[in-house]
Structures are given as C-alpha cells and as structure tokens.
Assembly symmetry: C2
Homo-oligomer: 255 residues x 2
C-alpha cells in the first residue's frame, strides 16, 4: 500500500516524497511513456494527503519535464526525451544533402515530418528587417513550416530571405532540394561565414500554443538565427520550440 | 479618448489593437519603466471591451517581455531590457581579472551584485557527477551564488568542482580572486579547451521562483556548462536564469 512509503517525520516534504515515488515508477517503466499518472483524487486517497499536496507532487514532475498536464484529461508520462540539438554539426552536413533538422532527428533516432505552412512573398517583420539590413515592410521570401517528431509538433520556424537571393530560385519553392536553402545559396556562390543565434524563453502566444499543441504551463524556447555568408546576412530564421522537447547544445572553444 | 483608436472593422483583433496602443505608450515612455499599466477594469471601461479581451491584451505584452504581472498588484512595465549574454567573449576576459558575469554586466551597462549563498564541501548531484566522471555522491567543492542586476535577482548558479582541483585553494574561498575560479585553475597550469553549454527552458520550481523573486508565469532558462581543461572536465556550473532577464547569444563559425 503506497501510503506506507511516506515518512511524515522526514525533513523531505510529503509532496516531494510522493513525487519521488512517482518518479521511481516512471524510471522503472511501471508507468510507461505515454501512460497516465494517478489522478489527484487517487493520490489524495492512496497517500491520505490534501488535494493541494497531490497537485504539488504532480507539478514537481511537470517541472522536471517527465510529465505533461493535459487540460481536462489528467497527467501523462512524456513520450520521449528531449531532442538534443547540436549547434556545431547540424549545418555542416548539407554537403551530404541533409538539412539541419534532418541531422538533428537522425542523431536522436526520431521519425520526423515537416508541414509546409507557407512559402512565398510577404512583408518582413521589423526585427528581421533590421538584422537583414532591409527597410521595414520590404518584401522577402518567407518560408514557414512546422516540424514534427514522432507525430508531435515540436518546432515552428519562419525564414526570411532577401528577394535578390531567393526570388525565382528553388529557395522560393516548397522543396528547395538536397541540403536545403543553404545548399542552394552555396550553388549561387555564397560562402557561409557564421550563424548568430539569439535564445530567449517565454510563455507561448495563443497561436504558438495552438500550432505546437502545447500542454498548459509549457514555455517555449525562441531562437532567432542570422546566417551570414560572403559578408552579408542572407537569412533570418525565427524558431519557436516546445521547450520540453529540446536541449540546445553549444560547444564553445576556449581562446 | 482611447476607444476612438479601436477599429472594429479591422482584421486585427481588438485585443491586439489594445496591445498595440499600450506597446506604443511603453515605447514612447508615456508608460515609463516600472510604471503601472491601466488595470483590467479601466481597460474594460476605456475601450468598451470584455474583461477577457482586456486580459488578453495585457498578456500579449507579458509574452513579449515588455510587461510583468505582479500577483494581486497589477501589471507593470519591465524596468530593464534583457541582458545580452555573449557566449564568445565572456570567458576570454579573465586575463584582465574579470569573471564572466562581470563582463556581461559591463557590456550591458548594469549595476550588479553577487550574493554568496554557499561555498564549501558537499555531495555532487547525479547529473554533474556523470559529466565530471565522478561517483554519485562523491564530495566536491560547491559554489552557490545569486546574481543581481539593478538590485533584482536574475540568475542563480551552482558550480561543482572536483576536490583535487579546488580543496584548500582560493577556489574554495568566497572570494576566489581576480578573474574568478577559471583564472585560479590556470594558475595551477590548466589550459582551457572548451565550454560545453546545454540549454533548456521550463517553469521554475517553488524554490527557484523564491530565490529569483519571479513573477507568476515566468519561465526559467536552465543552462548547464561543463568546462574542459587539459583534457578533463574541471567544473560543472548549473545556472537557472529569469528567462525574461536574458538573451543568450551564440556566434557559430561556419565550417
């Protein structure tokens, strides 16, 4: 009987002890990936605690990224560990015909898919205009797509590319060909110099939560990359990621 | 009168139009840093909208990082823009006697302070043990401190350093001297090779929210750095940051 494992004399709080027990069941796979955790009510009954204590125990596991709360349905063990996104290698494989997201998914052994949401002309937003050295509202090629791992949306990315680089080329087509748009820019003679990435985290907008089908209380990572080739910014890519789905990895050489 | 600026025929939703107006007042400093925004009730009255619409308008600005919600007190303009944390330069300045956080704060022109929370021996947690190649629960030197900018806690960092490097040296002292602990390791002959950084974002634990005095609905950035010198991991630093207070910047050379 579960309540026998709660030690009321411990200096570890009761809700943390319950979280420890549930974590153990997740680690042992007694509660398997995708499996439903005990409801608040059954924790209240099994451990003889208040509803507040039950909810705190569950929220510890949500915070640790082990569990997701699905509004109105209950608590579930996350299906998959976060994807490790390797900064250093992901752009280098286009010579093998592989785009960066493909590299990530293969390294993490995930089945993946891409939903193309929009490819075409549009007005550049203010932040990207500044980074690209364009006038506000200048026309650019916009590539907006959603990435899924194991059927679950995890990332929503929008690229902005100046017209003189992209218009009338495969960069403006839904399928930009092997190696993706950076490979097409190299076909034009661009030599890539660096990728500048700015990372923030925040709560999602309603639109982002809908597109990424985020459970409640899940923040997003917001990554804005500026690709610089042959002395000029050639793309700004604005990416919103389900924060629970990613670990971003950077290896910085000491100088 | 404010309601004259809402266009009910616009294809931009009413709550976004209200957010646009308030954002304009923040940008023009009509609503200054630290200033209180109109309450939900006054937005309801001024713009003749529902309470839900008023709350959505305010939450757009929270999501954008311009405004913080202080529980029970209302909405306030954030006092300061996020700190840009420059990955490439921040470790390179210890030869001038400057630790990384000092470099960040000076680059961002912020007054800063450090609270030392704990310096001494302790058991290494499992994740750091694995990265340092130590047994679980091995003893290490632990340095736990809280960083403040303009009097506001923004970062909470804990370093774990193997005993054979740190014990009995200035690395185990509250003030580790000019350039910080990495400079002291260099004094011992260590040559730094790289810093590996892993970034995730999530909601804070109760303890983290308390230490960082976070407003509700503010996620944290969680950054775990492993410093590698002379072929071995010499430190794991586990950092929890107020997500609204930081932009992490990485510049990756193309290869």
């Amino acid at each position: 009987m579960p309540s026998s494992r709660i030690d009321p004399a411990s200096d570890r709080s009761v809700y943390r002890q319950i979280a420890d027990i549930l974590r153990g069941k997740i680690e042992s796979r007694e509660l398997p990936p995708g499996g439903q955790l005990p409801s608040e009510s059954s924790i209240v009954a099994d451990y003889e605690v208040s509803r507040v204590t039950a909810r705190r125990a569950l929220s510890v596991l949500v915070t640790e990224g082990l569990v997701t709360a699905e509004h109105g349905r209950g608590w579930f063990v996350r299906r998959q560990p976060p994807v490790r996104r390797l900064s250093s290698d992901r752009f280098a494989r286009r010579k093998e015909g592989k785009a960066a997201f493909t590299v990530d998914m293969e390294a993490n052994k995930r089945a993946f898919a891409v939903d193309v949401l929009y490819i075409g002309r549009g007005a550049v937003p203010a932040g990207a205009a500044e980074k690209l050295g364009l006038d506000a509202d200048a026309e650019v090629i916009i590539r907006r797509r959603r990435y899924l791992a194991e059927g679950q949306p995890i990332e929503y990315a929008t690229s902005y590319i100046p017209l003189d680089i992209a218009d009338g080329t495969p960069i403006a087509e839904p399928n930009s060909g092997p190696g993706g748009i950076y490979a097409r820019m190299e076909d034009q003679g661009f030599v890539f110099e660096r990728y500048d990435e700015e990372i923030t985290a925040r709560m999602p907008s309603e639109e982002e939560a809908r597109i990424l089908t985020l459970p409640v209380a899940t923040p997003v990572l917001h990554l804005v990359r500026t690709a610089v080739a042959s002395g000029r910014p050639v793309e700004v890519c604005d990416t919103v990621m389900d924060a629970a789905a990613f670990v971003l990895f950077y290896s910085l050489p000491a100088r």
